[in-house]
Amino acid sequence: MIVAERKPIAEILANLRQASSVAVVGCDTCVAVCMAGGTKEVAVLSAALRLAARQEGREQLITEACVERQCEVEFNEPLAELVAEHDVILSMACGVGVQTLAEQYPSAVVYPALNTKFMGRPEELGTWSERCLGCGNCVLDKFGGVCPITRCSKNLLNGPCGGSQDGICEVDPSIPCAWQLVYDRLVAIGQLERLWQVEPPKDWTTSRDGGPRKVVREDIVP
């Protein structure tokens, strides 16, 4: 899932002070699951914004809304009136949702309330960590289901580097060394010989390095 977290309040407020009305629009998919931008979070942020306006002696209408999935135009269609009636739309969706709203309502001022971080999974309640950065050419079959592109701080394909100690990455003690994980996993499934293969340089064109990407299903497009 996409994982995001709320921007610092000060940063959000900086964009809103000139607005006389703000529609806070959440999304009930990924950002609700990572407790950053769902209905609940919309309520909390809206209350904070109302209190801030009162503190600063500003008149500001705050309206709360939430859609099922902000990256799909069908779900955003019912927002048309709301968008027309408010100076600023503060989106609590991930970056995709924010941009969808902006594309769908080109004359609306849409600001993000979240920082979109990564594709990852919940490790335990309240903790999410990165697992995939979308390189466009998945090689998880070669590494026992552990992605060295994403989880190795240096995205090595022939790791580990010299800084791996006690299964920890040199960059931060909270980061497990991906190559320790790869090694352990390949040992567990009896595929250690894969590590003897020299992995050639990666073709980064399938990743963001090749430019913004698109996927088209020719059999499905109208």
Binding site: I9, L13, K40, V44, A47, A48, R50, A52, Q55, E56
Partner: protein, 135 residues
């Protein structure tokens, strides 16, 4: 020393097993919270969250006190810890929007501490500023 008694609106959010029970006992003795305090009961400290506290401020409270059972005494085991942490998180949010952190307090108590609760409410005032010279 100045008599800095604060009678601005105060919302007391407390769990029914600790603060709630204490207030019931106080009532039996003919004692009650001052009139500027609004009492809000919740089943457990664990149900207290940012939204509840912010709504209390929005409704007109100038001070909010959150009370739960003491650590180890919560019937739901982690309710007090949740209340403590969420109060702390809300305090950060309040400070970021210009509301002083001292206006949000967290306390733990047992049902037989009603007198303490009344004292805490009375003592819930702005911190005294350090000043040179006489008070």
């Amino acid at each position: 020393m100045s008599d800095a008694r604060d009678t601005s609106p105060l919302v007391l959010i407390g769990c029914q097993r600790s603060a709630g029970a204490a207030l019931a006992r106080l009532a039996d003795e003919g004692r009650a919270l001052p009139s500027h305090v609004r009492w809000q009961s919740v089943p457990c400290g664990g149900t207290i969250d940012e939204l509840m506290i912010l709504e209390a401020f929005e409704s007109g409270a100038e001070r909010v006190m959150v009370v739960s059972c003491a650590a180890g005494a919560c019937n739901s085991v982690v309710g007090d810890e949740r209340a403590r942490r969420r109060t702390a998180a809300t305090r950060e949010l309040l400070e970021a929007i210009g509301i002083e952190g001292w206006r949000l307090r967290y306390e733990t108590m047992a049902p037989n501490m009603g007198a303490d609760l009344l004292r805490w409410v009375d003592a819930f005032v702005a911190p005294v500023e350090e000043s040179v010279g006489e008070a």
